[in-house]
């Protein structure tokens, strides 16, 4: 669309030729996303990491467990390209498994809390008044109770660690509230817009307005919050593992690996840097993809970017 506005056909004049082929909304969004270079590069990188995490373990000789044949504390090279730990893990094997668990947790948390948080926040913002006050007090409760303290309290009763699914659920329970607050703020200003009033005048129900108008227009802030949440979820999971509630040895996650290698960063850097770099790369790619999505979903963005 090179032109800013379309030629006016004048009062009641007949149609004139359209400039440019007609595309559906979905095609437009895909096109805009494809043209967002950082997002496309990030998507490719994330795809490679995902393949590495999920297919890698099937192809590589060593898994993430301790094996008697593995010599302890060997630097990278030879049979173990990323070296080994003192206890006898292959670091490459651990990295694959760790990335897999971390990706699972991060994406599950992100999806769960974004869906719940957005709907909760949008409903609170749209209905306003008492409903809003009540719903936001619930949000406050989830915001002020520190997650790690809760986990420490629960972990006393749960023995021997948990699965990635349970970990995700716990983190999601304590992180949707942030999204809800962000979305409520956006919706509070959106609901005063005339297009919401127009929908009400046409007889739309509150849920129609929330799903069709409010959430799509809040997509920008929601995506930003959701991508930030992924990084937070990865770190929280590491912290939980440390407290003995998250993913436990012999199973492993990236957070867990970094945590274990804290003291080895200078003496045995091969234990610290591979999971560290991978974690940073995952967070970065997710952020860029979020950027791309936000721009692609906004029809006001010009299609040519960078």
């Amino acid at each position: 669309m090179s032109e800013k506005t379309l030629p006016d056909t004048g009062p009641r004049a007949r149609a004139e030729a359209v400039g440019g082929p007609e595309r559906t909304q979905m095609q437009m969004i895909v096109r805009r996303f494809l043209r967002h270079r950082p997002a496309m590069v990030s998507l490719a990188v994330l795809a490679v990491i995902t393949a590495f995490a999920f297919l890698g373990p099937h192809l590589w000789a060593w898994d993430h467990r301790v094996h008697g044949e593995i010599p302890p504390s060997v630097p990278p090279g030879g049979d173990h390209p990323l070296g080994t730990t003192r206890a006898g893990h292959d670091v490459l094997g651990q990295l694959m498994r760790g990335a897999q668990q971390t990706l699972k947790v991060a994406l599950t948390v992100s999806v769960l809390s974004t869906v719940v948080g957005s709907l909760w926040g949008a409903a609170a913002g749209y209905y306003g008044g008492r409903t809003d006050a009540l719903m936001m007090r619930v949000v406050d409760v989830f915001m002020i109770v520190p997650l790690l303290v809760m986990v420490a309290a629960i972990s006393g009763t749960v023995r021997g660690g948990t699965t990635w699914w349970a970990v995700s659920l716990i983190i999601a329970v304590f992180s949707w509230a942030q999204i809800a607050r962000v979305v409520r703020g956006v919706v509070l200003s959106l609901r005063e817009q005339e297009f919401v009033e127009a929908a009400r005048a046409a007889g739309a129900s509150p849920w129609w307005i929330i799903v069709r108008h409010l959430l799509p227009n809040a997509a920008g802030p929601i995506i930003v919050a959701a991508t930030l949440l992924i990084a937070v979820a990865i770190l929280l999971e590491a912290g939980m593992s440390f407290l003995g509630f998250g993913i436990q040895l012999p199973d492993i996650s990236l957070g867990r690996m970094i945590d274990d290698a804290r003291t080895a960063a200078t003496t045995r850097p091969w234990l610290f840097y591979p999971p560290g770099v991978l974690l940073v790369v995952i967070c970065l790619t997710v952020n860029f993809i979020g950027d791309g999505l936000r721009d692609a979903l906004d029809p006001r963005q010009t299609m040519e970017r960078r």
Binding site: M1, D8, P11, R12, A13, V18, T24, E197, A201, A202
Partner: protein, 701 residues
């Protein structure tokens, strides 16, 4: 050099122009760099402003009228490239460093912007700010400066200046703030006052006060005035010469009477023809200019107006006409064929043939469709803090009764804050009423549950004021127009099909349905809004200021569309507006609101010919006529002050605090009645009713 003349009548030239040029702009061009290439906002503008003269610069949005003056003032952002010359009293000001230009701004040129809140410092009292300006230019003591501040406030017509000097900007109304800005401009004792849309954000009665203050400022300082505005009526009454801008150039300039009475550029002619006039014939159809103004980054090769001009020939498309003299002295126009415009009217050039005959308004207005009885809306004012107790009420609408008949246009008129939009929204149950009845064809709407109300949404629809805010930016136009159908359970395919038909109906290309609202211009978006409102085939359309956000040339097209649709589909309109000229053109009956009450209602023709309520009289006389001669000769009924707060309306008649009759024409005993007894809306014959104890008809047009 303070020349104080006696306060003469409004609208006359307060200062005699002489020949010394105070501001001389030559070949001024401004380019902005942008992602889409250079935007040529101003292209070779030249004008000379002589001492004491008033020059009006008119143009629609995007014509470059504001940018040109900002460039002279050195107020443009960094990405602007300015070339040409601008001399203030013979001294070049373009390219001066910041410190130098701000000295010129302070001493020689004073600027008045549209939004007075941003030009006043919120943390100082207005008295202090005026005194500062006085001290900067005169060697006087603080006490003397303070006295001068009081004097200036009195000069710009602010009542009780002794109290006002101690107040902060936020405590004053918009009109008063604008007058404070004018007082500061006067204290600077400038040679030129540049006023950029000084009254656009204000109501008409307040606009009249501010324009009067501007006249006072010119009388007092002898300054020349550059008045930038889109309002041809304001220009007609207040300037000596006028320059019309289009596409970044001056396309016509000359003495104001000359330009208004025999325009020599088709664009000017088109603008005059697009304007609904208070003094025009109601039956005449407006003649809009087709198309939209050119994009600044894609100027046509020849004349910028050629794509919209019915006279355009090959030469116009290839060669840009220079601004050259016409047969009348001082009158210049940029048109190759300006000679052919002698004696041509707007309808001859822009009319579509059918319109010339005039439309007969033989609409047999039938039975009442929508009836409103004693409708009241009070918004609670709540205390801050946890309890949020109710501490008061804003009485937005206080007992209104209306009757909208079949195929009729009923206009609801009033200034901002009078409750007209609240009323419109209550009719559609977008705002819940406090009390009163709303009846649609015998069925009470006011106590229906949202679910029972839904089927009735088919019958009653609304078009909003702001064509930018009222369309969801994330939906395609076809989805937007079809949305009401989808809400009422229509299949997606069928809804899209209907959306195409509806776009066609409002004069848009159905093939553009897959585009997003931001790709359309303001006028086109308003058509989309109308198409959406028509999707459910309603019988009643509530139009909430449907054309006030649009430029004049585009507005006329939308008004014509509304008239055609009414004719074709048999609609009833409730037309909410503050613009009396538009109302007079489109409405069959008018109801005038003031502070939540209807003060006068009657058939349009009669109400405008002989208004009986003092408020209506003031409103009608405050509307500027786009006719320099009549505008300057009219009798005016000025009101003073601002609309009181609806949280604490005056007792008795709500208008009495501003009523000229109450202030000057009544005895003590008569006034008591106004203070104590709220006037009823009483019939004065043939459906003309007013709410004034002492009403009498006055002929104003």
């Amino acid at each position: 050099m303070t020349v104080t003349t006696s306060a003469g009548g409004a609208g006359t030239d307060p200062v005699r122009p002489d020949d010394e040029a105070v501001l001389e702009v030559t070949d001024l061009s401004v380019d902005f760099t942008s992602e889409d290439g250079p935007l040529r906002a101003v292209r070779g503008v030249s004008y000379t402003l002589r001492r004491g003269e008033a020059l009006g610069i008119v143009g629609e949005s995007g014509s470059g009228k504001s940018v040109a003056s900002m460039a002279v003032m050195g107020l443009l952002p960094k990405n602007a490239r300015v070339s040409g010359s601008a001399k203030v009293l013979g001294r070049e000001v373009l390219g001066l460093p910041d410190s130098e230009i701000s000295k010129v701004r302070g001493e020689r040129i004073a600027m008045i912007f549209q939004d007075p809140l941003t030009s006043l410092n919120p943390v100082y009292t207005v008295g202090y700010q005026i005194a500062e300006a006085v001290l900067a230019h005169r060697r006087v003591g603080r006490a003397r400066a303070h006295e001068r501040a009081l004097e200036l406030l009195r000069l710009v017509g602010i009542p009780h200046p002794e109290q006002r000097v101690k107040q902060y900007p936020h405590e004053l109304s918009g009109g008063m703030r604008q007058r404070v800005v004018i007082a500061i401009a006067m204290a600077n004792d400038p040679d030129v006052i540049v006023a950029d849309e000084p009254t656009t954000a204000l109501d008409v009665t307040v606009q009249a006060q501010v324009l009067e203050a501007l006249n006072a400022a010119r009388r007092e300082t002898g300054a020349a005035l550059v008045l930038i505005t889109h309002d041809l009526g304001v220009v007609a009454g207040h300037v000596d010469r006028v320059a019309v801008m289009y596409g970044g150039r001056v396309v016509e300039s000359g003495p104001v009477q000359e330009v208004f009475h025999s325009p020599r550029m088709p664009y000017t002619l088109g603008l005059l023809g697009s304007l609904p006039r208070l003094d025009g014939d109601r039956a005449t159809r407006l003649t809009p200019i087709r198309g939209t103004p050119p994009a600044l980054n894609a100027m046509p090769a020849g004349c910028a107006f050629a794509p919209r001009c019915p006279m355009a020939r090959d030469r116009c498309r290839d060669e840009e006409p220079a601004l050259s003299a016409t047969d009348a002295p001082g009158h210049t126009a940029a048109c190759h064929y300006s000679g052919e415009l002698d004696g041509v009217g707007p309808a001859d050039l822009f009319g579509d043939g059918t319109a010339a005959a005039g439309r007969e308004r033989t609409r047999a207005t039938g039975a009442p469709v929508l009836t409103v009885n004693d409708l009241v809306k009070n918004f609670p004012i709540r205390s801050k803090g946890l309890l949020r107790r109710k501490v008061g009420e804003v009485q937005a609408v206080s007992g209104i009764s209306l009757e909208l008949r079949e195929r009729e246009t009923l206009a609801l008129v009033g200034e901002s804050g009078c409750g007209k939009s609240t009323t419109a929204r209550m009719l559609l149950r977008l705002i819940e009423r406090s009390s009163g009845e709303i009846v649609y064809r015998g069925q009470p709407l006011h106590d229906l549950s949202p679910r029972r109300m839904r089927p009735l949404r088919h019958e009653l629809q609304i078009v909003f004021q702001d064509p930018f805010a009222s369309l969801d930016p994330r939906m395609t136009v076809a989805d937007l127009v079809g949305e009401p159908l989808r809400i009422h359970g229509e299949r997606a395919g069928r809804a899209r099909e209907r959306a195409g038909d509806l776009l066609d109906l409002v004069g848009l290309d159905p093939a553009h349905g897959s585009r997003y609202p931001h790709e359309f211009s303001g006028g086109q978006r308003q058509r989309i809004g109308i198409a959406r409102a028509l999707a459910l085939q309603p019988k009643v359309l509530v139009l909430d200021e449907p054309v006030s956000a649009l430029d004049v040339s585009v507005q006329a097209g939308v008004i014509n569309l509304l008239e055609d649709l009414q004719e074709e589909l048999g609609l009833s309109y409730l037309f909410v507006s503050h613009d009396l000229s538009v109302v007079r053109h489109i409405a069959d009956r008018v109801a005038v609101m003031y502070l939540g009450r209807i003060v006068e209602t009657g058939p349009t023709e009669r109400l405008f010919r002989e208004p009986t309520h003092p408020y209506t009289q003031a409103l009608v006389s405050a509307i500027p006529l786009p006719d320099p001669v009549r505008e300057r000769e009219r009798e005016r009924i000025l009101v003073t002050g601002d609309v009181p707060s609806p949280a604490d309306p005056p007792s008795g008649c709500r208008f009495r605090t501003r009523c000229p009759k109450f202030a000057h024409g009544l005895s003590e005993g008569e006034r008591t009645r106004c203070v104590e007894e709220p006037p009823e809306l009483l019939d004065r014959g043939s459906g003309h009713r007013d709410a004034c104890h002492y009403s009498e008809a006055v002929e104003l047009l």
